[in-house]
Symmetry: D3
Subunit: 239 residues, 6 copies
């Protein structure tokens, strides 16, 4: 059973772009939902999931040995508690020179537990191996060293900053070729439903423009004639 | 009929790299023609066209509804007046966090009207869908939100700044895997002709180096012997 | 004969990632070996070689004609003295707007002489043509103009700064999809040997996690049971 | 006659901080009026004036001789047409390395004509001499070279971008130790009147806090008791 | 009673520079204690205090009215609970364009309660009025708008990032003309005592260099002769 | 004997601003002489001297103890060999987070030996104490930690990059409130002589503008009438 199936609204969200979602949130007063500067390693994938968060802070001194699997390590606590459909969102203050926050082995663990993606305002390492593992990743950069070079995991499942956006645990995360968007859960039913419709309508408009040669001033936003045509088209499609 | 065919010199320019054009302009005193930091979404395409320009400025306040197809909107005015062979060059002050300046629907309109590309010192949205539309794009970044997040279209077909370069409407624009260059029209005949020859000569030199093992000190720039050989080679080719 | 075969430890290093090498160097007190912000043009290649260095400084005034193949030009001196297995590492102060440091023709010469790669804290030009030439390149950016736009070659085979890391001629350079790392030669035997083992062990751990579902807290770093299993596995493999 | 006296609302605006004005504009939907990163050369001065604008663009090639006092030069056109109470606002794309846009001599001319200040998203030169001249200046940086190093004056008295804010000719400009704010003229009467009152009220509140020890939760914003006290205080002052 | 007097070690720390403290912490493995890019508004003051922390995150949408003195506002909670000797350290993600985090009125409240300073990785507003209030401030920038422009107060008295350094509530904060340093409390007794001695010794060394003309190779660090002289000097001073 | 007296042309250069010198160098093809982003700690001082250079590179690992006064340390070698009239110019790659390159004690040594200033593309520490020592300093930033935090001194008296400008040992350095300029020695006699005259002429022009109200189009550059007046004025002054 794919995790998207289990997550309410995920079936619809899977067909809505981050651009459309951002615009719909903006209309509802959520004007800051798209993460700036956080790019996919693989621009062909799309994910829908629920945010889990992890925050790194600057290490006071160099951490000599990798902090291992101890109980107190927030990085391990959040990763080991990943549930199917979760997306791990990491705040590393945008510091891409401080080392990679996650590599292939922890990516494999996230993937195994059903995690659907990783989003980091910082760097990852082992990008080729993460690609083999198959965990979709959106990041600000890449760095070969491990995070103990400059950071330590400070806490998890608290609100964080990522790409200039606040992400709160439980937010819906949708990410695609453009990047990643955080959707407050109280808005998700509405934007999923409206977004699904928006995509269908925009595909119709694009055809009007690309095939029928309508000017944008008539078709985008659509005037009444085109809206009427679209209503008819929807009836034909049984939507 | 491909727009390049109609544009004088475009047949030659299609075989000249932006790197060669930049170097030839530099020799003529145009030392600032290559746009820094403006990268292709698809590095396999190349375009040649004429610059149309659009300038965005910071919005004074949040624009609640998308400004639509009204008469006064410079974005719509310039897009609806795109002619075959035009390239739309957008100055958004380099701000990639202020929202996407153009998405797939307006890209489809530019494409339909014969526009050959879009170059923006700012962000676009719907990158996957723009790729479907088939409009070649060079940008500084990607952002899912629409431009009303932080910008408004201020004027069009005026000189603009893009990638640290001034672009004046009517400039030739050539863009490829390296990026984009603006060519003042008074120089285009010369650099197209010379560039076409330069590419042939550099291919000859590269063969001398890659196959025959000539040192760069002899072959680049070519000494008299190699130049003589090249003259002979040109005669053989009937150039 | 591939150059890697000739270079001691290169056969092992070819199987070790830059992430693993960086971590192993870090354990030995070399905490600053991975170059930040220097990305591959082609993320599918990997190289191992010895550093040769070149430093560019800001040109005092515009250099009108390309400085040619003269004796005194450090760029040409270092390129013409490239030996099989060398990697050219260029320090241009991180300035990606000052022009491309190397294009396709000089890349062809480096390739012909057996050079295995080019790494630059600055820009290259002719990226499509460099790809044809087949020289692997890691850079901070791309710029169409030539370096005389803003730089001149100041010296070669001196210590340089690249991606926030010091590179000393004779350092081992390994570069892959994540980026590039400089290995002081006195550490190379150790990290090559240990790294080769680390990669095998991490592949084993990844299988434990991806296939057998072990938690990261048990498997990474591995506890005694898993270590014992791995020892047995190594015996089976005849390692 | 001081220019401020002649400009409507200037007498009130002279007593209102840029911070208060920004907040009042924000309440009216003008959420983007304060210029980020544009700092005073002298933090003890304050100005009120009307915006005149000038836009620089990147020079295509180096301009060998200073363009002089020719008719076509937008820099000279705008400076020679400065009226008492004008503030010259310059958009140089934030480029502080391209040379100083104005030096002491043109500053002296602006001052002589009654110009009350200069604000530039770029650099000035001759800062010590400008200080002697007595023209108040707010800038992003300082550069010793003249603008022909990298820029040319493209147009004047058009909308420009300065410190991330749009400035339209005729906007009111107020600048103080914090920086500079652009006020759309249709809002100026209201914010001047309200701001003048706000400053008096905030001085009253600050005294409640600093002298009487009121908690911020009671006094800022003031609760009904404090508001009543303030109304009485106003009556006593005859305001 | 000055707060410094009440705070253990504050009397000694008042005579130790941030540079000396940073160096002493570095020797103890705390290699990341000095906040980069956080400059004093007034470079003549010095403070010693205990860290209280406040973290701002990006606002999801524009906050129309200032959130007032409500119970849930972490900004007000931390300010109203300031104790004599506290320093408020604010993490705003380094965003200086998002608005001023604190102005003159809240500065007055901090000052009234005995707070000794404000340090912010972000901007403040009302700098001239804050100077009147007399609260020493170290910041990354200045912005006239209030924080609701782009931020909201997310939590307080949690570990934060400021100037690339982790600050934990209860850390000692020392700030002077160079900037600010966070001292983990377990190290404060030692570095205060050693730092006090270091400053005396360095004053002695500086005199040897400035007056007696000793070379740095002899005097810094001091050789045995100078150390012996210094021991004698200390005896003479009765230290 | 003041060092300036001894240095040829220093008496004239002391009366020429960096802005004028930069413009005069630019006219001679030296278009890149003013250091961008390198600001004075004290904007009231001016220096003239000869460049000595020092280059720092990233430390491979943390340097535990300060490298002391050993023979091989390029920082100490260059400081101990400072001669009257020298200016130490330090290239630290613009890294202001890597620690302070020089503090008060080494500044005192430079001052004692007759060094007239310090210019660094990086940070210094102990700024208040350096001010007591009296060594004029121009820098990109301030950092409390010592350089071993992230750098080591790599070589001295080689060409370096500082503020985007190449500085070669033996260059004349002039620095004032605007910043610092490097003058190739072969141009110094000319620009000193011409600059001295330029300053006198510009003072005359400024008076025409400030007192007599001449328009800039007539007076800057001066037309023939004003030039004739100036020639007469020079005769009167006995220049």
């Amino acid at each position: 059973m794919p995790p998207e199936a289990a997550l309410p609204h995920a079936d619809k969200l899977a067909h809505v772009t981050t651009a459309t979602l951002t615009a719909l949130l903006s209309k509802r007063g959520i004007r800051n939902s798209f993460m700036t500067g956080i790019a996919p390693l693989d621009s062909t994938v799309k994910i829908v999931g629920l945010a889990r968060t992890l925050r790194f802070l600057p290490a006071r001194g160099p951490v000599v040995s990798q902090p291992g699997g101890g109980e107190g390590n927030p990085q391990r606590l959040v990763i080991e508690s990943i549930r199917p459909g979760d997306v791990l969102v990491i705040d590393a203050g945008g510091d891409v020179a401080a080392g990679g926050l996650v590599g292939d082995i922890l990516s494999a663990r996230i993937k195994y537990l059903g995690g659907v993606g990783l989003i980091a305002d910082g760097a990852v390492r082992d990008t080729a191996q993460i690609s083999d593992v198959g965990l979709p990743v959106w990041v600000r950069g890449v760095h070969g060293d491990g995070y103990p070079r400059g950071l330590y995991p400070a806490d998890h499942d608290q609100p964080v900053r990522c790409g200039g956006v606040t992400v709160i645990p439980g937010d819906y995360i949708v990410a695609d070729a453009d990047g990643a968007v955080a959707i407050p859960p109280e808005h998700v039913a509405e934007v999923a439903a409206e977004g699904f419709g928006t995509e269908r309508k925009e595909a119709f408009i694009r055809q009007k423009i690309s095939v029928d040669g309508y000017p944008s001033t008539t078709a985008y936003p659509p005037n009444e004639d085109i809206l009427r045509e679209y209503e008819e088209y929807k009836r034909e499609q049984g939507w």
